[in-house]
């Protein structure tokens, strides 16, 4: 198929970016979206132009690196997939595809389609962990009774790959689905209980400090999340936070 691409080009974090049009031809419908971008970049390199910078790593939908806003949606029009798993069969010959970086004040553009998502790392560092002694005396996790339901819910929350599609899709650039998932994966398990109050307080404080917006429950994040993280995690985080705040 032959396509017209409207791509956000920005030289560096300080430069003023703009949309630039490109044409790509003979794109196979079996290609992934990133393979189509590779074809474009090969074309640009061959013609002596600067290739389009974009994040990618595993190309298997588990690393959370790819981060394109395609035709007005994070990771494009397909559901439950990252950009690397989005196939060109989702588009038609002759289509014009708009490709932009994930937008949020807390996700500044580094170059073209690459954004700085270190804000997520700093939120994780603020409390997204459990303080386990790993000196060799660690208790076998299987010796702690955990209900199947709690284990499943914690695992569902833990599937968040931190790609930032939730922030990109939110009209308020809120990070609450990400933080809700990270808070939940520990809050649901006994190992996470000891530091639960400090964890949610610190992670929410860091989230606010990074400049993410407030959640207004539009649910866009849940729909666009490639891992199907549920809004229930935001509600759980709200409960955890209110409980921690009331405890003082």
């Amino acid at each position: 198929m032959n396509l017209t691409l409207k791509i956000w080009r920005q030289k560096d974090s300080k430069a003023k970016g703009q949309m630039v049009d490109y044409k790509v031809t003979d794109i196979s419908e079996h290609m992934s979206f990133l393979e189509m971008m590779d074809v474009l970049n090969e074309q640009l390199v061959n013609s002596g132009e600067e290739p389009v910078a974009f994040d990618h790593d595993c190309r298997e939908g588990i690393c959370g690196m790819c981060s394109m806003y395609i035709n007005g949606e994070a990771h494009g029009p397909d559901r439950g997939v990252t950009t690397c798993q989005l196939h060109m069969r989702m588009f038609n010959d002759g289509d014009t595809i708009t490709i932009e970086p994930f937008r949020a004040a807390a996700f500044p553009v580094i170059k073209d389609l690459v954004v700085d998502r270190m804000a997520f790392e700093r939120i994780q560092q603020a409390g997204g962990y459990i303080s386990v002694n790993t000196s060799g005396n660690t208790q076998d996790a299987n010796s702690i009774p955990i209900s199947k339901h709690a284990a499943d819910e914690a695992m569902d929350a833990a599937t968040c790959i931190g790609c930032g599609a939730c922030v990109a899709s939110c009209k308020n650039s809120s990070a609450m689905l990400f933080v809700g998932a990270k808070v939940s994966q520990y809050a649901l398990l006994p190992q996470g209980q000891v530091e639960a109050a400090d964890r949610v307080r610190n992670m929410v404080a860091q989230m606010d400090l990074e400049g993410f917006g407030n959640c207004t429950n539009t649910g866009a994040c849940e729909v666009e999340c490639p891992k199907g993280i549920s809004l229930e995690n935001i509600a759980r985080m709200n409960r955890e936070y209110l409980s921690a705040t009331l405890k003082g």
Partner: protein, 223 residues
């Protein structure tokens, strides 16, 4: 309390609590107004009780006014903060693919409700306060009869006011269609009852505003 309002979740929680309080108020307002259709005498008696009982006048009414002001002010504060959190606007954004129009436009439906509320206050609340606390007439009577039902009917004679109220209630419906279950989500209530609650919320968001529209039209055509 001020500490909790400094956090994004605290602000959500406060916004939701004020919303739940206002939704209870709207429900009781609707039930009382319904009596103006079903039984004008009962409507007069309830109106007189609501307008003169000291607990309602001096305790609940100020709480309600504070709740209304808080909800609007916090709504605008959150909108400003959220706009600040956004980066460069997308060249193409397909919001309809993942969320409802109502959920994305709460600030607009809320703004129109505020405009409606100002008109509603000028129409009913300010004249009532003037009669009771400026003129000093707490009797609730006019020409030997309760005045409330008569005043209500008079207000809905001009078709422009009926039309204005109908538009106001449409925006109330749009606001409630997202606001009802959003308030429960914000206070952390998302569980096995959520599906049922969403259904109840949709019914509430449609029945109450449509009921108010019916009452306005009823008095216009039955004057």
């Amino acid at each position: 309390m001020s500490g909790i309002l400094n956090s994004s979740i605290g602000r959500k929680f406060a916004m939701a609590l004020s919303a739940l309080f206002l939704m209870i108020f709207v429900l009781q307002h609707f039930v009382i107004n319904l009596f103006s259709v079903l039984s004008p005498d009962t409507f007069n008696e309830i109106s007189h009780f609501m307008g003169t009982f000291w607990v309602i006048q001096y305790v609940i009414q100020p709480i309600l006014i504070i709740g209304v002001i808080f909800h609007f002010v916090m709504g605008f504060v959150l909108e400003i903060k959220n706009n600040k959190a956004n980066g460069v606007k997308y060249a193409k954004n397909n919001g309809a693919a993942n969320s409802t129009w109502m959920s994305r436009n709460m600030i607009w439906s809320g703004g129109f409700i505020l405009a409606f509320l100002i008109i509603h206050f000028i129409d009913f609340w300010i004249p009532e306060i003037n009669t009771k606390y400026i003129v000093g007439d707490m009797s609730g009577m006019y020409n030997g009869e309760f005045r409330y039902f008569h005043e209500l009917q008079e207000k809905f004679v001009p078709i422009w006011r009926v039309a204005l109220y109908c538009v106001g209630f449409v925006f109330l419906a749009l606001h409630l269609l997202h606001g009802f279950d959003s308030a429960f989500q914000s206070v952390g209530a998302n569980n096995k009852y959520t599906k049922g609650l969403k259904g109840f919320g949709k019914a509430y968001a449609i029945i109450i505003p449509v009921g108010f529209i019916f009452i306005a039209l009823f008095h216009h055509f039955n004057h």
